[in-house]
């Protein structure tokens, strides 16, 4: 499942995948895989991403259950 919250948080700071990846110490392809939902990052990387984007783990990575 695509992580659209991560994508929008990144876009809100006007960061490219490359820039965010560099700040988090990973490759651009890894950041792209996380956004596409092709790769589940470890908690350490999730925290690093949250720190760069100024968000919490809940904001970006917690999957909320649908009430429907």
């Amino acid at each position: 499942m695509k992580n659209l919250r991560l994508k929008s948080a990144r876009a809100a700071l006007d960061l490219s995948q490359e820039e965010l990846a560099k700040k988090c110490g990973v490759s651009r392809q890894t950041m792209s895989a996380i956004e596409k939902g092709d790769y589940n990052p470890t908690i350490n990387l999730c925290i690093a991403i949250c720190r760069v984007l100024g968000k919490t783990l809940n904001d970006l990575f917690w999957e909320e259950e649908s009430n429907d």
């Binding site: 876009a11 490219s16 995948q17 990973v26 490759s27 392809q29 890894t30 596409k36 990052p41 350490n44």
Partner: protein
């Protein structure tokens, strides 16, 4: 050990030292070791697994050739080298198609220069041996075939890198 074996051993040691120095030159942070992120490490682990299977499978085929007494027109050490290169090619192929061929600290341009130099260093002796008609040792393809095998691997890897780069232009998703 004969003179050729000594020469090969010395060449191997010089080659290893050269590789260490080249890595230091080609990595942006001056480190010998290439750095990978967590996803890259995981995917590369799979790549090493497939490369290992390839080597085991190829070695088993060689053993079978040997047991059946099949006499190939290629020296034994060339066949062993082909097995190693087959493993390396599988490793490179898997890592290229899964975006983990390049490490975080690799300078692509410097690696391309090294690639080009290695290509020339392999093609020159091969061409010279073809010109002098010295491809065969005791009726079997010998030392120059090592260069030919490396060239084949380099061509495959280079072609894959180009195709991947081309494919990424059309499939990459960037907001």
């Amino acid at each position: 050990m004969n003179a050729t074996s000594y020469g090969f051993a010395v060449g191997l040691i010089i080659g290893l030292i050269a590789i260490i120095l080249l890595f230091k030159y080609a990595n942006r942070d001056g480190k010998i070791k290439t750095e990978y992120d967590e996803r890259q490490k995981a995917v590369r682990g799979k790549a090493y697994k497939y490369a290992f299977y390839t080597v085991v499978f190829a070695q088993a085929i060689l053993m079978w050739f040997n047991m059946t007494g099949l006499d190939l027109p290629v020296a034994d050490y060339v066949l062993q080298f082909i097995v190693i290169i087959a493993g390396c090619t599988v490793l490179a192929t898997y890592t290229i198609w899964n975006d983990v061929y390049w490490g975080l600290n690799n300078d692509h341009k410097k690696y391309q220069i090294i690639f080009a130099i290695a290509f020339v260093l392999n093609i020159l002796p091969l061409v010279m041996n073809i010109i002098h008609g010295s491809m065969y040792e005791d009726g079997k393809l010998g030392m120059p075939m090592l260069n030919a095998v490396v060239i084949i691997m380099m061509v495959i890897v280079f072609a894959e890198l180009l195709i991947k780069r081309f494919a990424d232009k059309y499939t990459d998703e960037e907001a």
